[in-house]
Subunit: 293 residues, 2 copies
């Protein structure tokens, strides 16, 4: 189904389109922001551009990173589009949906829920990898600026870093590269992940492992990972053991999987101050694997 | 009086300090953010750096531009500190202080109020040009990173653009350069300015003119202005006649004042998307006049 354009905002020579579309996967309208760089919108020499998908963290909507992440600054120089999906369905009005900041609304964890009542529409995994990508590339108005052949990369922050890593690992070849800011790297072993997976997937921890980057990397057969991860050492959630990037590193090493770079940054926290500081590196990482650098 | 450090946040290789200090001018605690670039904080080769003051617009606090303006990205490369003051006293609890978004709280308009009850503490002009600058340069903890001899530049957005322009014009020599994003350029002739000036300064419109960039530029005797102004042509407030940058341009031209560059940008609005896009240019403008470029 086509996008409705809610607003259009000039940003770094390109344009950010605030969109909405009716999702058959979530059964709700879904908000999504699409940034098109100046190269795509050139009136004289328009170029079809590749796409970077940015998955947001807990409590966020497409707006936060569009305004505070600074990815557009570098994407506008390289000619890369950015897609900012939402973090859950909104409007299902399920019991308890809004009672936690780390479960339910804005906390979809990029899985397809199998438990009632969440299985009604909390299917963010299928929404992202199937419906949303097909919708944006197939859209009559916006698809013409994009080139699926050039490829799609994925990145994300915190819960969205978990989403980026797991969707990259679960769907080999769908994304040309992955990166993550402060990702929840081993959710089966942290409180956020355990709460979300129990709620969305039930008690069977074998099911949880199918959505855990550290578990998935053990079975990875796709060659070099093409993965960049940044973590701040002053990140309170890192210190609480919610992120566990060392477990991901260890699992990759044990499995003989190459191509995972994890950088630890003194003094940096979990906020958009952290994301914005390193956003150019993540755009460059994607651009390199999309043939732009 | 010394600053209390509320928090310290790593950003673009430097640090943002969220500070508070008791102001004798406003009679309240005042929040202020200070960004120190990596050059100032180098453990091996620290350099005392010049300062750019950023004045925020209506409804804003020191937080908005610190997080969304991206001035730090460029300032960190050049070695420039940035000071983000608040937009009004907070905590006076004056009658009607919170009843408008464009007058009172977060709407101090960078003037010293002469009418009751606002004259009690709404003295943002004196606060910025005297107390705050003296406090930051004289501070035992933070002053040592700054070099007042290298100079201070000023910039701002909307109401803060009005503040930057008028304080630059009223205090020749205090600031080495001025720039503004979508400034209220001729407040005596726009609804925002008329409401604020009537409220803070009373009925005498001759008093209003002392705080109007367009009026002040007519009497400017300080040589070339060293002023950069950016305006978005999709800015709703520009289209409503709240900004009136053409009046500033016309007055400068009629007065034979050189050195004012006003740029109009198709499609850009009044938001931080606009500010962030052009922030590097404004940092460069300040850096040039502070001897960094």
């Amino acid at each position: 189904m086509a996008f409705t354009t809610k607003s259009t905002i000039a940003s770094f020579g390109g344009k950010l389109f605030k969109l909405s579309h009716p999702s058959t996967t979530t059964t709700t309208p879904m908000a999504v922001n699409l940034y098109l760089p100046p190269q795509a919108l050139s009136p004289t020499n328009p170029q079809r551009v590749p796409l970077l998908v940015y998955l947001s963290g807990l409590t966020c909507s497409p707006e936060n990173c569009s305004e505070k992440g600074f990815l557009q600054a570098r994407a506008s120089q390289l000619g890369l589009a950015i897609l900012y999906p939402d973090t859950s369905p909104r409007g299902l009005d399920l019991p308890g949906e809004a009672s936690s900041w780390d479960f339910g609304l804005a906390a979809g964890f990029y899985v397809d829920a199998t438990t009632e009542p969440w299985s009604k529409g909390y299917k963010m995994e299928s929404y992202i990898v199937k419906e949303l990508l097909d919708t944006v590339f197939g859209d009559a108005e916006y698809g013409k600026y994009l080139d699926r052949e050039k490829g799609v990369a994925i990145t994300g922050h915190s819960m969205g870093g978990h989403g980026a890593l797991t969707l990259y690992l679960k769907y080999p070849g769908l994304f040309k590269s992955v990166s993550a800011f402060a990702p929840i790297s081993n959710p089966v072993n942290c409180p956020w992940g355990q709460k979300a997976f129990k709620g969305y997937l039930g008690e069977d921890q074998e099911e949880w492992k199918k959505h855990d980057a550290t578990e998935l990397v053990r079975g990875w057969k796709g060659g070099d990972l093409k993965a960049l991860v940044d973590v701040g050492l002053a990140d309170g959630f890192y210190k609480q053991g919610q992120l566990l990037p060392e477990n991901l590193e260890k699992a990759a090493k044990e499995a003989g999987v190459e191509g995972l770079t994890v950088r630890y940054h003194e003094d940096y926290d979990h906020s958009y101050y952290f994301i914005s500081t390193f956003s150019a590196d993540h755009v460059d990482h994607a651009a390199k694997h999309l043939g732009l650098l």
